[in-house]
């Protein structure tokens, strides 16, 4: 137990948590930089978009050893040597729809790398598909309609579990914790709750850990990513953008920073953007652990690339879990082709109308359909109000329950090369994808029973 001294030291004073990923498609190298240079105690990877679990559920139904995030095979081998050497414990929701299989894959990577045997704790119980099937009357949060309307097309239902599951998993002594759906800030709060053995009655500290988690959960978004703006908000070394870390004190003090020498910036401006990000009512930000109030939060520059966070409060958690229900909702098809020079916009518009008419002639109908001119109206609409550019790209997209109808959209756009307005260039093969949509319900806590399983021995 050569790591004992450092761990006991930090346990008394502060704990340092790094964020190694904030989305499923995030960059890889900054996590290694955190592990090697960040002097962190825990490395957290948040890698589950809303519909990822639905997709991975399908993968698991094809192969019982699949269903975890495929990026596990890139992220884990990259950081495992440094983390094992420094006794940095890893927490991630990369387990997706099959965390136990993910844990076995992590252990195999460790063995293949010649590292010591590592123990993984697995959080299960977020998958509550079988439970909600028996509760068709649950109202959907988005529309108020009963869940029953989605059940025939449902592919997954997962409760957003809280930090208590991560704490319990770390309490086992495991090197790595893999979860399915756990709320993003809870992944981080769980490490801190474990480290200081906090409980759910300690509101000021829950607020501290939740704020820290919220500031970290989008990785580089608090260090200058999703922020940089030439001439307005300059960011040094954006290409080498470092990922954030948080120091959380036993007393609930929170400071945000990043590894020394990494690119990016951490200051009051970057932290303010991330603090408010995706918050609805700032006085009532609901997580599975508490209801966070940031209306009295103040941010203070506490050194180079270091910001102290004060004034957060928390109220007791609600008596329900939010559940994301994944379901099939038809197909989306799209196609694109470009026009340039004289009358480019007029030719693109004619092309779009021809596609619409041909799809109608072929008898297809769409739940939703749109024609965009990329360069003018594809992001913010209002075509008539936009200045005319030199070149423009026509994009047509349609959503239909019938795959053939969706495929036909891109097919008809591609045919514009030879059957449409003159001088069209740069088309593409028809794009079509099945729609995995999500909606939400609230489920009373008593129906959810999270558990910890072990892969390997501590």
């Amino acid at each position: 137990m050569e790591f004992g001294r450092r761990r006991i030291m930090s346990r008394r004073e502060t704990v340092r948590v790094g964020c190694g990923a904030g989305t499923s498609d995030d960059r890889l190298e900054p996590a290694l930089e955190l592990a090697e240079k960040g002097e962190i105690d825990y490395l957290v990877f948040e890698c589950l978009a809303e519909r990822t679990i639905a997709r991975e559920n399908l993968a698991r139904s094809r192969d019982p050893e699949l269903g975890y995030a495929p990026s596990l095979h890139e992220r884990m081998p990259l950081v495992l040597p440094a983390c094992v050497e420094r006794n940095i414990r890893i927490v991630s929701n990369m387990g997706a729809a099959n965390p136990a299989a993910g844990a076995r894959a992590v252990r195999k990577h460790a063995a293949d790398l010649g590292l010591r045997d590592i123990a993984c704790a697995v959080v299960v119980g977020d998958d509550i598909g079988e439970i909600v099937k028996r509760m068709p009357e649950l109202p959907l949060m988005e529309t108020g309609e009963p869940l029953e309307t989605l059940l025939p097309r449902m592919v997954s239902a997962n409760a957003y579990l809280g930090a208590d599951t991560v704490k319990a998993a770390l309490d086992t002594g495991a090197d790595v914790v893999l979860t399915g759906r756990v709320a993003d800030p809870s992944l981080f709060l769980g490490t801190v709750m474990h480290h200081f053995d906090w409980d759910y009655q300690d509101w000021p500290r829950l607020a501290a850990g939740t704020v820290a988690g919220h500031l970290l959960e989008c990785s580089g978004s608090v260090t200058g990513g999703c922020f940089a703006w030439p001439g307005k908000k300059e960011v040094e070394g954006l290409a080498r953008l470092g990922f954030p870390l948080a120091d959380v004190g036993a007393d609930g003090l929170v400071c945000i920073g990043k590894p020394e020498g990494s690119g990016g910036r951490v200051d009051v401006m970057t932290c303010t953007e991330q603090l408010i990000y995706e918050m609805h009512d700032p006085a009532n930000y609901i997580t599975p652990d508490c209801v966070l109030d940031i209306t009295d939060v103040t941010l203070h520059q506490a050194g180079a690339d270091r910001v102290r966070v004060e004034g957060m409060r928390a109220k007791p958690r609600t008596d329900t879990y939010k559940v994301t229900v994944g379901y099939f909702d038809g197909w989306i098809g799209e196609g694109e082709v470009s026009y340039a020079g004289p009358d480019a916009v007029a030719r693109a518009r004619l092309g779009g109308e021809v596609v619409r008419e041909r799809l109608k002639m072929r008898g297809f109908s769409y739940d939703d359909f749109r024609i965009d001119l990329i360069g003018m109206s594809s992001l913010h609409g209002a075509l008539e109000a936009r200045p005319v550019p030199y070149e423009v790209r026509l994009r047509v997209a349609g959503r239909a329950q019938d795959r053939k109808a969706a495929h036909a959209v891109g097919f008809e756009v591609r045919t514009l090369h030879v059957n449409g307005p003159g001088s069209a260039g740069g088309g593409m093969d028809p794009k079509v994808r099945q729609v995995l949509a999500v909606k939400s319900v609230l489920l009373p806590r008593r129906y959810v029973n999270p558990q910890i399983l072990m892969e390997g021995e501590v």
Partner: protein
């Protein structure tokens, strides 16, 4: 004068709702933004994109506002036909809003 001159913004998403922060570069401009960047003005600027309603939350200690714009994301991230399904670029619609009285 535009919001662009006084503040920076970031957009996020939840389902079919966009939330856009407006953060004053200088706290002296916060009262002007509070007076002029009303939910009604924001709703007008987004009328061709979102059905609304628009709710404004004030965060004076952060010299910031959080605007919550409902029915703004083409039915929701997972089913939207928009190129920008998350509406990340909608923050620049906010930056483009003209403020009628720049004198404060």
């Amino acid at each position: 004068m535009k919001v662009y001159d006084l503040a920076h913004c970031r957009a996020g998403d939840k389902g079919n709702t966009s939330n856009i922060s407006v953060i004053a570069y200088d706290e002296r401009h916060y009262p002007l933004l509070r007076e002029q960047l009303t939910p009604e003005r924001v709703m007008r600027a987004f009328a061709h994109i979102a059905k609304g309603p628009v709710t404004r939350y004030e965060l004076p200690k952060l010299r910031a506002f959080n605007f919550v714009i409902e029915n703004a994301l083409g039915g929701g991230v997972t089913i939207s036909l928009n190129q920008d399904v998350h509406g990340k670029s909608l923050s620049t619609v906010m930056l483009e809003i003209e403020l009628p009285d720049g004198s404060g």
